[in-house]
Symmetry: C2
Subunit: 112 residues, 2 copies
């Protein structure tokens, strides 16, 4: 990637791609699943479930946090990570809006 031209894409395309990128690793997908099903959000358990070292899990958590899909804060020695449902829903809506747009256009133009 000699020159990255991210600004030359429409914001919708960029936004969809960004969301997809955070969902593009099975570990991060798995983390979301674990956070959704545990009613307690203690994160040490995540490390036990995933086939990854603690440092690596921490990195994935950081990415999920940066993307806004989860929140996280230290509580004593343990950390509490939670899904940010509002943001998750927002990203899902944008994603599906894009997908619906594709399908609508495809039906209008009888392409292939």
């Amino acid at each position: 990637m000699t020159t990255t031209k991210k600004d030359e894409y429409a914001t919708q395309e960029q936004s969809v791609a960004d969301f997809a990128k955070t969902m593009s690793h099975p570990a991060r997908v798995a983390i979301l699943k674990v956070l959704a099903q545990k009613n307690t959000c203690i994160c040490g358990e995540i490390v036990e479930v995933l086939p990854l070292a603690q440092a690596t899990v921490s990195q994935h958590l950081k990415e999920l946090k940066n993307s806004g899909l989860i929140t996280g804060e230290l509580e004593g020695t343990t950390s509490c990570y939670c899904i940010n449902w509002k943001n998750l829903q927002k990203e899902l809506d944008k994603f599906n809006k894009f997908a619906d747009g594709l399908i609508a256009k495809g039906q209008k133009n009888g392409c292939c």
Copy 2:
């Protein structure tokens, strides 16, 4: 990534991540958009729309093809790329099924 342990994730998580990965680049997202709105599928036009060299666009098209989201075949000197609507819908369904599962679990367990 000294050791990749992709097989240690559930198939759903892996599947979601794979789909997300092909959607994780704005160029590929843009290509899908173009293919959906053009009723002709001639691909040379894609190169003109995107801020990328022809070789790079060809690579992205190949990835989209490998993921099953589009089909492509040479017709004379030009190539005809089309969205594989059936597969696209299938991937979208899997993705949304995962997302719905998350939300359902989240509502059941009053996490955070």
